[in-house]
Symmetry: C2
Subunit: 177 residues, 2 copies
């Protein structure tokens, strides 16, 4: 569909081939077909590496994200001079997937979570089994699986030890896969 | 390496093939080679789909994330009965990569950001060029590129229109690639 559009643009207005080639490539790139740099954006390798959350008790959070949510501990480093520790957890390697960075400031055990940040969302194959397993492992399911209020996607919500929400999304809708 | 380990375990102790096959697959799965379900965790497809942030002005945020940070608009839907809009932006398709979900509640133009949520981090090939491009496009670089205070990784920080921080990380360290 985007490719057809590009061809059509080139075909109906053959007098401006270079301008139109740029437009066509722009459309193609915008639709994920091609990574040619046709605009001013300079960094084609740009990607989301992680989402960072500050946590009040690192061991408690690591237990939750690894044992309850099934992530893997990827790396962890103490910074004694700054009195903080960074830990990275996720479902894949950092070079391939976006992960979660947990920051623990040694002298802070509680954070005001505000109202802006929403959640991370995890896609799951069988949302009911995952919720059952989370509960069995001591996790807090704060919204049971069911269709979202104003849509059809089946979702649930879990709360991590600091109160951050984690959304679970049933991977049945093509848009969520 | 994990595969070699698995084979070795099977080879040296052939008398417990099923138990050991489970162990071997566990090692393999833990190392991202195989998704066989060998422990109590029920969902091998689990992955991070997105991070959700609430924004006070959706058009302003979309301009920032697409034009200034170079993400693509992936999908957008209005929910008139709930008076909110969801928009998804990212550097790849949702089926392949973790993206950013922007929630705009039509009746809320400002959020208390709290102190718990940190940022999303973006890996970049050339952090100085990216910062220059962001500034040229009207983005706010709040921390110029340089080594992190207590480490060697070269980072910078940008602020989005709501005040959420976006970390840029120079992809030179293998740990960050």
């Amino acid at each position: 569909m985007p490719l057809a559009l590009s061809v059509e643009i080139l075909w109906v207005t053959p007098t401006y081939p270079f301008v139109l080639m740029g437009t066509a490539l722009g459309v193609a790139r915008h639709n994920g077909i091609c990574c040619a740099q046709v605009d001013a954006w300079p960094d084609p390798l740009m990607r989301m590496l992680h989402t960072m959350l500050r946590v009040g008790d690192l061991e408690r959070s690591l237990t939750f994200y690894t044992e309850v949510l099934g992530m893997r501990m990827l790396r962890r480093k103490d910074y004694p001079s700054g009195r903080f520790t960074l830990a990275f957890v996720g479902y894949g390697e950092e070079r391939d997937t976006t992960v979660l960075e947990l920051t623990h400031n040694w002298d802070t055990s509680h954070y005001d979570l505000g109202a802006g940040y929403g959640h991370i969302a995890l896609g799951v194959e069988d949302i009911q089994s995952v919720c059952d397993a989370i509960r069995a492992k001591g996790g807090k399911v704060v919204r049971e699986p069911g269709p979202m209020k104003h849509g059809n996607t089946v979702i649930a919500f879990v709360e991590d030890p600091d109160g951050y929400k984690v959304e679970l999304i049933q991977l049945s809708s093509p848009a969520d896969r």
